[in-house]
């Protein structure tokens, strides 16, 4: 986009008929996308490139799920997904099938020499990092790190260890790798094309699946089937679905079926019994096309539960309407606190706690079960994520210690000419300001302490077994500690006037 002369695109209004936005070298236009209606993401990419006669055009599009208003439809660019939170749903609501971009412009840098020097430091930081080789080799393709911690959500977050999880280990995915992939200009190459050679899903391939997707189609149905993780990943990419919410919605349906809240009449004859994953591919299609049971699951588990009633709400494992990802908060309290307070709902990428999950020693080692100090740590992780994401940067590098705030600040400063960025203290304030501004957006829309809530399963039911046995998520002390660390009112969860003024966000007060 930057090569085409734009920093960001804001789309207002709704197109009368399906359209796609064509952006190129300082110009933009809406073009007819009627002929693309109903096509999957792969075909949409191909046909737009053919129409515009340029195979190097980059496309971000929605699939059938986004067109049909599935609440967790994503935006897909080649095989990469902006999966969480329903961005594709918003595009679909605007009749916007895709955004296609081609740019040939030269990037302007405030200080080219300083930028090049900072890039050298960045490369050195990556190459000398002790995690670089491992992450470069396998990315996130594994399931062992959460199973050995007893927090791999199984049977809709009832258990923390998946039977036979060793079949989803890194070494098993390594055997299926066709080639490595990477994002634009990245030296890590953490992605992989993976393909099944034999079995029920022989021939199935995908870019990935990454850890979350591996979980999404195994833990919720309580069966470790590596072939399904690959086939379901590709199907969700093609149809334009967030794999995390899709898998969670399917797991929710399995629990309702077991408890008799839905029956074969509702499932169209599908047997949603744990250990039987045959219905999964069919349910994915039903969700994307809003057919049968999929029509109600497409609303997300919170709304689906409300419509089903009879106590189904307690089995919707979500926060603010967004389904939890592949970490049971009972096994990692700061990680859970982030899921509880993230501004977009239960999103792990808003403030991942590598200290608890991987034993990362920065800013300090922590006991994953401990409650004390987790408010401050959660704030630290969230603000760090925000300050790095403001540069449109992958969050893996900083979370592994490959890229320091100091080097990142030099990159930003050299690129923009804003000297303040080279001061890490200023960057931290930027991160905190972003998080608080997002919070105030939510406050304006009526969100507050009532929305920082987990389902009772996580706060009242002790983990029944495994390495996190006996743990619950101690919501009350954790949340109060977090609000205090943030400088927010502990009774409302709203940032105080003093905090907002300190951050230069006085404009949000009273709005």
């Amino acid at each position: 986009m930057k090569f085409a002369g734009f920093d960001a695109i804001i789309v207002k209004g709704i197109a009368d008929t399906p359209a796609f936005l064509w952006v190129h070298d300082g110009q933009y236009e809406l073009r007819d996308a009627t002929y693309l209606r109903g096509l999957d993401c792969d075909d949409t990419h191909t046909l737009i490139r053919e129409e515009l006669s340029d195979p190097n055009i980059r496309v971000a599009c929605i699939g059938p799920a986004g067109e049909r208003g599935v609440k967790y439809a994503g935006i897909f660019s080649d095989r990469r997904a902006c999966g969480r939170g329903g961005g594709g749903t918003v595009m679909g609501s605007k009749n916007l099938k895709a955004i296609a971009i081609r740019g040939h412009q030269r990037l302007e840098l405030a200080d080219r020499e300083a930028f090049a020097a900072a890039v050298k430091e960045q490369i050195k930081g990556y190459r000398t990092n002790r995690e670089f080789a491992t992450f470069s080799e396998s990315g996130t393709q594994n399931s062992e790190f959460t199973n050995v911690l007893g927090m791999f959500p199984t049977k809709n977050f009832r258990e923390g260890v998946l039977p036979n999880w060793e079949q989803l280990e890194r070494t098993e995915y390594n055997k299926l790798r066709v080639r490595k992939t990477r994002c634009y200009s990245c030296m890590i190459h953490c992605g992989s094309i993976t393909k099944m050679g034999t079995g029920n899903y022989a021939g199935a391939w995908s870019e990935g699946p990454e850890y979350e997707t591996i979980w999404a189609f195994t833990g919720p149905v309580a069966l470790a089937d590596i072939g399904l993780t690959i086939a379901a990943d590709k199907l969700c990419d093609d149809l334009g679905l967030d794999t995390i919410s899709t898998g969670s919605a399917i797991g929710f349906a399995y629990e309702l079926y077991e408890r008799g809240l839905i029956t074969k009449k509702d499932t169209g004859g599908l047997e949603l019994t744990y250990g039987n994953n045959e219905p999964v591919m069919q349910l994915i299609r039903q969700i994307a096309y809003r057919q049968g049971l999929g029509d109600i699951l497409a609303e997300g588990t919170r709304e689906a539960a409300r419509r089903i009633g009879h106590g189904a709400e307690q089995y919707a494992i979500q926060v603010k309407g967004l389904e939890l990802p592949a970490y049971d908060p009972r096994g990692a309290k700061s990680h859970g606190l982030n899921l509880m307070t993230s501004n977009i709902g239960a999103d792990h990428n808003t403030g991942y706690a590598p200290q608890e999950i991987f034993g990362a020693p920065f800013p300090r080692e922590v006991d994953r079960f401990a409650v004390e100090g987790k408010g401050e740590l959660t704030k630290w992780n969230q603000d760090l994520t925000a300050l790095f994401e403001t540069g449109i940067l992958c969050s893996f590098a900083p979370s592994m210690g490959m890229l320091s705030e100091e080097v990142y600040g030099r990159l930003l400063s050299a690129a923009t000419g804003v000297a303040d960025f080279s001061d890490p203290a200023y960057l931290w304030q930027v991160g905190e300001r972003i998080f608080n501004l997002e919070r105030m957006f939510n406050v304006r829309e009526g969100f507050g302490i009532k929305d920082d809530v987990f389902p009772k399963r996580l706060t009242e039911e002790p983990m029944p077994g495994g390495p996190s046995a006996g743990q619950v998520f101690e919501a009350e002390p954790l949340l109060t500690d977090y609000y205090q660390a943030r400088g927010w009112d502990v009774k409302t969860g709203i940032p105080t006037k003093a905090k907002l003024n300190e951050l230069g966000l006085g404009l949000t007060i009273g709005k």
Binding site: E131, S138, N349, F358, D367
Partner: protein
């Protein structure tokens, strides 16, 4: 007493086993187990064990650093996991 060990990555390749059970003396500590592992699986295993940076050692799912470090006491039925750096997203 019996202690179960789970290996991952290069350690598993050198041990040629995914998991195993060791019989340890009552009162054994983590350091005793590590020494025992080195003796059982040889120099290459011992070198790898000492070279892995950020190796996570979990005793029943809890990091050893919060259980007394290498002096952490072991008891019958414990599961010890030796997990090299690995990531999720």
């Amino acid at each position: 007493m019996n202690v179960e060990i789970l290996f991952f990555g290069q350690l598993r390749e050198l041990a040629a086993v995914r998991q195993t059970t060791f019989v340890m003396s009552d009162g054994a500590r983590l350091v005793d187990l590590i020494k025992h592992l080195g003796e059982e699986y040889g120099d290459a295993f011992r070198r790898e064990l000492s070279n892995i940076r950020r190796l996570q050692i979990l005793i029943n799912g809890q990091r050893h650093t919060f259980l007394g470090g290498m002096e952490a006491p072991l008891k019958d039925g414990d599961t010890v996991v030796l997990l090299p750096p690995i990531f999720g997203g």
